[in-house]
């Protein structure tokens, strides 16, 4: 009886794994940097010349800087980020039991700051939050993305997937039409990438600064003349989770450099 139950459980597990087959096979996954020119690639790979490292450095300083009424820093609880934060960014977005919702890395850091440090909240896309998120994500550099889409995260994942395949805006385009069906082809002078977020927060030359994945997603929606959800909106977090799942296996490059 027990054996039969295990067998049934194994079949169910297989079936649910098969239902989650990714449109781009793991062997064909390509980071956005492989679509970039030699100059951008060289800029990202140069540990000193990569402008995103300025935010990593600022994040390192903020990590051990006391904030809030209790005078606690991130390091007071977490210790050395190099060991404590290694691999953390690879698991985000993730379901947060305290907030009872799926949060991305920025939202998790912002919540930790108000809840545990009792410090003034950091606005999304603010320089300090970007610096901390970049510093934390940088500790997972070269580690493969591995998010959970099971259990409490499943509903968010499904919403993210629906958003990804839904046509949006005046151009009536879905994310999949460019990044799944036509990646590698040209859109004017750009080569369309597979649309992975593994380099974010990333320094974007067009922005002349570093920005989050949500900023990039909003810019993409603007490009197809669609309504942009507000920064931190559930739709964007759901989409981030779906994107992380479809990028599983790709290594984190934070801080990446993109055009």
């Amino acid at each position: 009886m027990t054996r039969r139950l295990i067998l049934v459980a194994a079949i169910v597990a297989c079936a649910s794994a098969m239902a989650q087959t990714r449109a781009i096979a793991p062997a064909d996954l390509r980071s956005g940097i492989t679509f970039a020119g030699d100059d951008v690639r060289a800029m990202q790979e140069d540990e000193f010349g990569n402008p995103g490292m300025l935010w990593v450095e600022k994040g390192a300083r903020l990590w051990s800087e006391a904030a809030g009424s209790d005078g606690k820093s991130c390091a007071s609880c977490h210790g050395d980020a190099k060991t404590a934060m290694r691999g953390v960014a690879a698991r985000y977005p993730a379901y947060d039991r305290v907030q009872t919702r799926v949060v991305d890395l920025e939202a998790k850091i912002a919540d930790c700051r108000t809840r545990h440090q009792r410090a003034s909240p950091l606005a999304r896309e603010s320089d300090d939050l970007l610096a901390l998120a970049t510093y934390v994500a940088h500790q997972s550099r070269d580690l493969p993305i591995a998010v959970s889409i099971e259990g409490a995260a499943k509903a968010s994942f499904e919403r993210g997937r629906a958003f990804y395949y839904q046509r949006h805006g005046q151009m009536n385009l879905s994310c999949a039409q460019c990044h799944e069906q036509h990646w590698g082809k040209r859109l004017l002078r750009e080569t369309m990438s597979q649309g992975h977020g593994n380099a974010f927060p990333a320094y974007r030359l067009e922005w002349q600064t570093l920005g989050s994945l949500q900023r990039r997603l909003r810019a993409c929606l603007f490009g197809i003349r669609a309504e942009m959800p507000a920064e931190g909106a559930t739709e964007l977090t759901d989409l981030e989770l779906f994107l992380a799942w479809r990028a599983q296996g790709l290594s984190i490059e934070t801080p990446g450099v993109r055009r």
């Binding site: 000193f48 010349g49 402008p51 490292m53 300025l54 450095e57 600022k58 002349q208 600064t209």
Partner: protein, 107 residues
Amino acid sequence: MADSRVAVPGKIVRGQPFEVRISIRHPMETGYRMDNAGKSIPRNVIRSFTCRYNGDLVFSAKLSSGIAANPYLRFFLTAADSGELVFEWVDDAGTRGSDHAAITVGG
């Protein structure tokens, strides 16, 4: 705003040129852009940059609107003795920034 990163080689040979790299966090606002309300955003670029070696001016640069945000400067120096390089810059808003790096000269 005064964030910067400096890189100098660990070992410097007396009289031999060595590379100095500095990257400064700065928006380098061109002065040609408008904000969402159509109002002109005032220019704010790092105007002048200097590098002193034990007090002597050894490198300077005048920057302008044509330089991208977060400027990255790279130049070569020669040194006779160990000492300190001091980098200083000032932008249109009058904000001053500085950084320094110790150099060790051997051989």
